[in-house]
Symmetry: C2
Subunit: 161 residues, 2 copies
DNA sequence: AGAAAAAATGTATAAATATGCAGAAAACAA
DNA sequence: TTGTTTTCTGCATATTTATACATTTTTTCT
């Protein structure tokens, strides 16, 4: 799954460094063994919701609007991820199973990332229903979840061995 | 003073409507009798710190990063503006004179707009020292103040008649 | 597995945006 | 005022970014 890796790398790069153009980003990615073209980058940046603003020194830089206002901290993420046991599709929706009692934390976390792809969530005790926005495929939601919670799918695989 | 008007109009337009391109903005401005070219717009948008992000529906839109987190309300602005009596340059800095006791409110307001042009302020009882960032001219600070407090300079003229 | 559908990607190019330069306008000084 | 300097602007164009289309890759279904 090349794209997911790339998306994650892009997120990391534009938050940690001042990236001034697609071209620069392209080279940085190439340096990490993630090759693609400017066209793909353009699409990926849009998908990530990445924007561009003046850098205050005559140039421009890319950035990710951080929904981090009320976003759970990195620490929270570390708690959320291991609580997830399983993800299943049902009727065009995603059902996430968690360790008992952890559904609402997890759903809260997902909600607060304010990803466009996700219309909303409903949580019980150990089950979360994730409702994708119209026009968003299940796969897109998976990618989205992977962005929110890097390592998610790999972890689930392991649990199910 | 055509530029100031234009800057204000641009700010208003991109915060109140979803502007998708320079071209669209150009037409809206034309509608208000403010004519210019795309080139000028490009420069103005940079000066305003305006950025562009995906609009979540396949397109893009311009926006102003709102430093409004702790920005005084519009109401506060209405109180701040009339308290300002005079603006003088001194040694590459700006000295703002206010009605007695109003300096710190006013300085607080200016600080919290987080304009790039202004490195910081120091306030006494009726006097504020505004320190422009290196490389920023006094005129640029004036423009900046006019953006923060529309009508400022016109008001000062009247007071001094 | 193999067929069918969906998603991802590259290529070429269109569209959008930024900028060097020169002239115009405005601010400033005396 | 008049000359001087700074800022602003448009024009033409370079640069950058987005996208239509064709192809490949990945998923989904049976």
């Amino acid at each position: 799954m090349q794209k997911t890796k790339r998306l994650l790398a892009i997120e990391k790069l534009i938050t940690e460094e001042e990236i001034s153009s697609h071209e620069v980003l392209l080279k940085k990615l190439k340096g990490k063994g993630l090759n693609c073209t400017q066209a793909t980058l353009s699409r990926n940046l849009r998908q990530l919701g990445a924007g561009r603003i003046p850098d205050g020194r005559g140039g421009y830089k890319y950035f990710l609007p951080d929904n981090s206002g009320n976003l759970p901290s990195k620490a929270a993420k570390i708690q959320v991820l291991p609580a997830i046991r399983e993800i299943v599709e049902a009727k065009g929706l995603l059902v996430i199973k968690t360790i008992p009692g952890n559904a609402s934390n997890t759903a809260f976390y997902i909600d607060n990332t304010s990803r466009f792809e996700i219309a909303g969530t409903i949580a019980g005790d150990d089950t979360i229903l994730v409702i994708p926005r119209d026009g968003i495929s299940i796969n897109q939601v998976h990618t989205c979840l992977e962005i929110i919670l890097p390592g998610l799918h790999e972890q689930i695989k392991k649990k199910n061995i």
